[in-house]
């Protein structure tokens, strides 16, 4: 299964992931960083299994993240 991975501690809360893929992302009102919805968190690494289509869409998101903390796996 394709995966999206977010290394959350380095997120600077720019909000572009949420703009591009609102289906999977939210901006946390608690700490101002992006939340990968329903992802499993291991310490600061958040991982979500996604469909092939979501995975394709996430390519652009991964590239758009200014601090490159969104990876595809």
């Amino acid at each position: 299964m394709p995966k999206i991975i977010q290394y959350r501690d380095k997120c600077i809360g720019c909000g572009i992931c949420f703009e591009l893929q609102p289906e999977l992302w939210r901006m946390s009102r608690k700490d101002g960083k992006a939340v990968l919805l329903k992802a499993a968190a291991k310490k600061l690494t958040h991982v979500l299994q996604v469909t092939a289509q979501q995975y394709e869409e996430a390519r652009a998101v991964s590239e758009a993240c200014p601090v490159r903390v969104i990876k595809l796996g």
């Binding site: 380095k10 997120c11 600077i12 809360g13 720019c14 909000g15 572009i16 901006m27 946390s28 009102r29 608690k30 700490d31 101002g32 960083k33 758009a64 993240c65 200014p66 601090v67």
Partner: protein, 412 residues
């Protein structure tokens, strides 16, 4: 003269270096709401207490930068940070967004207006004086404009919320931006990385070619780095800057290391003292310039202060510092009774005559000579990977402390 020398602190090491080197105050950022959020190893909210305690114990003031663009979802984090700022007595918040200005005013937290607010005239100063006691001017003003703003503030008795005459702060050293302060969108357009959110990817620091899209011909540009300004260095004109009536002198560089902060702060501290004592000579200036050029720089110019219209551009992508530091190892132990520190060599080798640079949380930056160390307990002429070196040292050493070898930049 009681001008304040304000140094950057992107880490505890840099903060300690600023304290040791004679800064009057430091500024720092936490979490992602500051203009250096991209730089690694930043402070978190929980560090605010220690920063405040250590600075105040050393007689310095500390200011926190909260000067990015703020979004709706940032408000809770902002409030959390401001709560800690209030609780731990951070001396002021450096802000440009009105959400921050409004919250600080409500909470009774002193404010400084950031250069990001691009204050370039007296009317703006008067406006912001309702909220802030210190205002950082835009970096593009000339000394004449600055002096006129300062003298008008005094003449019109423009006071801040504290009732004191508003203080003007200017940048005296460090990187300049190709755009007007706070108004660059290049990084945002090219890579979605907003500079005003602390994520600048520094497009301006790269070389560019100009291509005619019709013919495909490339135009030759004299200097490919058409957008990359050299770094600001005002030591040669520091006396004029002081005469202009500014109250705070700021050094840029929260992404720089302890050695940088130490060297730059020391030079400017010495220069301020020399001016106060009436012995600000060309010889001394040459010496400071030489020392400043040993640490990170893209070549120096005196910025827009003397009324130049076009900036001076760099000729290389990175630093032209005359010295470079090469990582050699890390701290392993400290023997407090005999005051001896121990580092392990992890990379390369050290030998007789080498100058070693140590950086650490407790002491900032220190330099020692290889000739002062013992290698695995004995006097030797060389130390290799895996060897442990020990030497008398007055400060605690921890595992995050680093050891570098200093070399002239030409010896790759």
């Amino acid at each position: 003269m009681d001008v304040e020398l304000l140094s950057p602190a992107g880490s505890f090491e840099a903060m300690q270096a600023a304290i040791n080197a004679g800064a009057n105050a430091i500024y720092f950022g936490v979490e992602q709401l500051n203009m250096r959020s991209r730089s690694s190893g930043g402070f978190i909210i929980d560090d605010i207490a220690e920063i405040s305690v250590r600075c105040h114990a050393a007689g310095l003031r500390c200011y926190i930068t909260l000067n990015t663009v703020m979004y709706e979802y940032d408000m809770q984090l902002l409030q959390g940070i401001l709560k800690a700022v209030k609780e731990h007595g951070v001396d002021a918040v450096i802000a440009s967004d009105f959400a921050v200005i409004e919250s600080c005013t409500r909470m009774g937290i002193p404010l400084h207006i950031s250069t990001q607010a691009n204050v370039s005239n007296l009317e703006s100063v008067q406006f912001y004086a309702r909220f802030a006691d210190t205002i950082v001017l835009a970096r593009e003003l000339t000394l004449k404009q600055i002096a006129s703003i300062c003298s008008e503030i005094k003449r019109r008795k423009i006071v801040g919320p504290s009732g004191e005459i508003v203080k003007i702060e200017v940048f005296i050293h460090g990187a300049l931006c190709m755009a007007i302060s706070g108004k660059c969108y290049l990084s945002l357009h090219s890579q979605n990385a907003s500079a005003n959110r602390g994520a600048c990817v520094q497009n301006c620091r790269r070389p560019y070619k100009v291509v005619d899209t019709e013919s495909g011909n490339e135009l030759l540009v004299d200097n490919e780095y058409i957008m990359s300004p050299q770094d600001l260095c005002t030591i040669p004109i520091l006396d004029e800057i002081l005469q202009s009536g500014v109250a705070v002198l700021k050094i840029e560089g929260r992404s720089k290391g302890a050695d940088y902060v130490h060297t730059v702060t020391t030079c400017y501290r010495e220069a301020i003292t020399a001016i106060e004592q009436g012995r600000f000579t060309p010889g001394l200036i040459a010496d400071w310039m030489q020392r400043l050029s040993t640490v990170y720089n893209r070549g120096f110019w005196e910025g827009y202060y003397l009324g130049r219209e076009i900036g001076q551009w760099t000729k290389t992508p990175g630093s032209i510092a005359t010295e470079k530091k090469i990582y050699a190892g890390k701290g392993t132990k400290y023997y407090p009774k005999i005051q001896v520190g121990e580092f392990i060599i992890e990379k390369g080798s050290l030998q007789e005559g080498d100058v070693l640079l140590l950086t650490g949380n407790a002491f900032g930056m220190e330099k020692i000579l290889f000739d002062q160390v013992l290698v695995n307990g004995e006097k030797q002429i060389k130390a290799l990977k895996g060897d442990k070196i020990t030497f008398p040292f007055a400060h605690k050493i921890s595992a995050t402390d680093k050891l570098y070898k200093l070399l002239p930049a030409t010896d790759a």
